[in-house]
């Protein structure tokens, strides 16, 4: 796999994510279309808006009933052409709300998992850069079972990054954490956005988080897009006195 050198110019990678899908899920349906080029595309909506269903379709874990999903010119799903690229060939990293670290592997082995599965050559500089960026170097020998929620989420983030995805999906990465732990993760996500090596789709129901991270926002309500634009479309919150 050929990778662009990591320098200042390469550090502003952008991709075009095109999503136009329909999926019936019981009585609920997701019918969403948008094209985004932002560094961080935010999917914003309350729970039940279809955010997780949508990212699962982008990752390839759920197959839409019809439509198209494409990253740049690479079609990942096209219902009418019967294209459904399986998740392991999409090169899309996914950080789940519940981290999903492999419990039988150490933190170091979890971090290295994507590289092994994709048969990439080892890149110690990159490993060091990411473990330092996420402050997880001291956890490498530990097992996931003994980590705190915030630590687990940082390891999951590092694991996804080290699989060298072209797009990173963050599905409420702070959703399972209390306020204190959230404050512990948010700076890392900002750091990641500003390092800019991978475009992200960030899912949240928290307008404040969204404002801090997203560069473009897709607003979802009951499986439909209600607004698309910059962070100014997010609902205003009157700060607590």
């Amino acid at each position: 796999m050929v990778r662009a050198p990591r320098d200042a110019t390469a550090a502003r990678k952008l991709i075009v994510l095109r999503v136009d899908v329909f999926k019936q899920l019981g009585e609920f349906s997701v019918d969403v279309a948008f094209t985004s080029e932002g560094r961080v595309t935010g999917l914003f909506g309350s729970s039940g808006a279809g955010k997780t269903s949508l990212v699962s379709m982008i990752a390839g874990l759920v197959q839409p009933d019809r439509g198209v999903i494409a990253v740049d010119s690479d079609v990942l799903y096209d219902g009418s052409a019967h294209i459904h690229v399986p998740p392991h060939r999409r090169r899309i990293g996914y950080v789940f709300q519940d981290a999903r670290l492999l419990p039988h592997l150490s933190v170091a082995q979890n971090l290295d998992y994507g590289r092994r599965m994709n048969r990439l050559t080892r890149d110690p500089t990159e490993e060091t850069r990411i473990t330092e960026m996420l402050d997880i170097g001291h956890l490498l020998d530990r097992r996931p079972g003994g980590l705190s929620g915030g630590e687990r989420q940082r390891v999951a983030l590092g694991r996804a990054l080290l699989s060298q995805p072209r797009l990173l999906l963050l599905d409420e990465p702070m959703g399972a954490l209390d306020e204190e732990r959230k404050a512990e993760i948010l700076p890392y996500l900002k750091r990641l956005r500003d390092a800019g090596d991978v475009p992200m789709v960030f899912v949240s129901h928290d307008a404040d988080e969204m404002r801090q991270l997203a560069t473009q926002v897709v607003m979802l309500k009951r499986g439909r897009v209600t607004a698309f634009g910059g962070t100014e479309i997010l609902p205003r919150i009157i700060p607590a006195a």
Partner: protein, 231 residues
């Protein structure tokens, strides 16, 4: 225990050989079947499920007789195998291993299936987004996490195989040195006027093996839960 006769030793060693071979050959098949039953839905799944558990509920003599019809010297498959591949099961220790494998299969598959079902599918999804193909997901996530269940199934299958009697004696008879296992040796001994002492020795050995197997199986099951919690 010191006065175990050569014939008894032969039966003990044969039983162990038969049970080991039966378990080793059944295990990969059992893992595949358990995975299919746990993770896939396909037409005819209830039928496959029923066939696998059939040896558990059928009288063993019926299973043995069916094996004889199918794989005996003049059996449907047995005649063909003997003629074209030179493989004969009838009245051979390999036939005993086959009968034990069939009889122990339900006990082998069940813990494996349960442990595969217990593996969190969300972990399998996570590993696929990291680039693991379905086969690699199985090899690096599902199987390692289900391993204690696999070992428990192997132990139970082994214990069943080493004690199997009805199907084995029906299919391959009771030939000392070839198909006479501990069970069939005990059966012969208690029908012999002075066989009581020898029979009780073999009975003690059977009980010992069974108890050890159950303890081992319990230990593996406990390891399984520890492993899933990942400490």
């Amino acid at each position: 225990m010191s006065d175990i006769s050569p014939q008894e030793w032969t039966a003990i060693l044969l039983s162990i050989r038969v049970a080991v071979i039966a378990t080793l050959v059944s295990t990969p098949i059992g893992i595949g079947v358990a995975w299919l039953l746990a993770r896939r839905d396909f037409w005819g799944k209830p039928i496959i499920d029923a066939i696998i558990y059939l040896p558990l509920v059928l009288p063993p003599v019926v299973t043995g007789y069916l094996l004889l019809l199918l794989l005996g010297k003049r059996g449907l498959l047995g005649a063909w195998l003997a003629e074209h591949l030179g493989i004969v099961f009838a009245f051979r220790w390999t036939g005993a291993a086959l009968a034990c494998g069939v009889m122990s299969f339900p006990l082998l598959v069940r813990p494996i299936r349960l442990s595969i079902e217990a593996v969190d599918r969300r972990l399998e999804q996570a590993s696929s987004t990291l680039g693991a193909s379905p086969w690699k997901v199985f090899a690096t996530v599902t199987l390692p996490l289900a391993l204690p269940g696999v070992l428990a199934g192997m132990v139970l299958g082994f214990a069943k195989a080493i004690g199997e009697f009805g199907a084995t004696i029906t299919f391959v008879s009771n030939i000392p040195g070839e198909t006479q296992t501990i069970s069939s040796a005990i059966y012969s001994l208690i029908q012999t006027p002075d066989g009581d002492a020898a029979a009780s020795r073999l009975v003690m050995i059977s009980i010992g093996i069974a108890v050890l197997a159950l303890i081992a199986s319990e230990w593996f099951a406990r390891r399984a839960t520890q492993r899933l919690h990942g400490n």
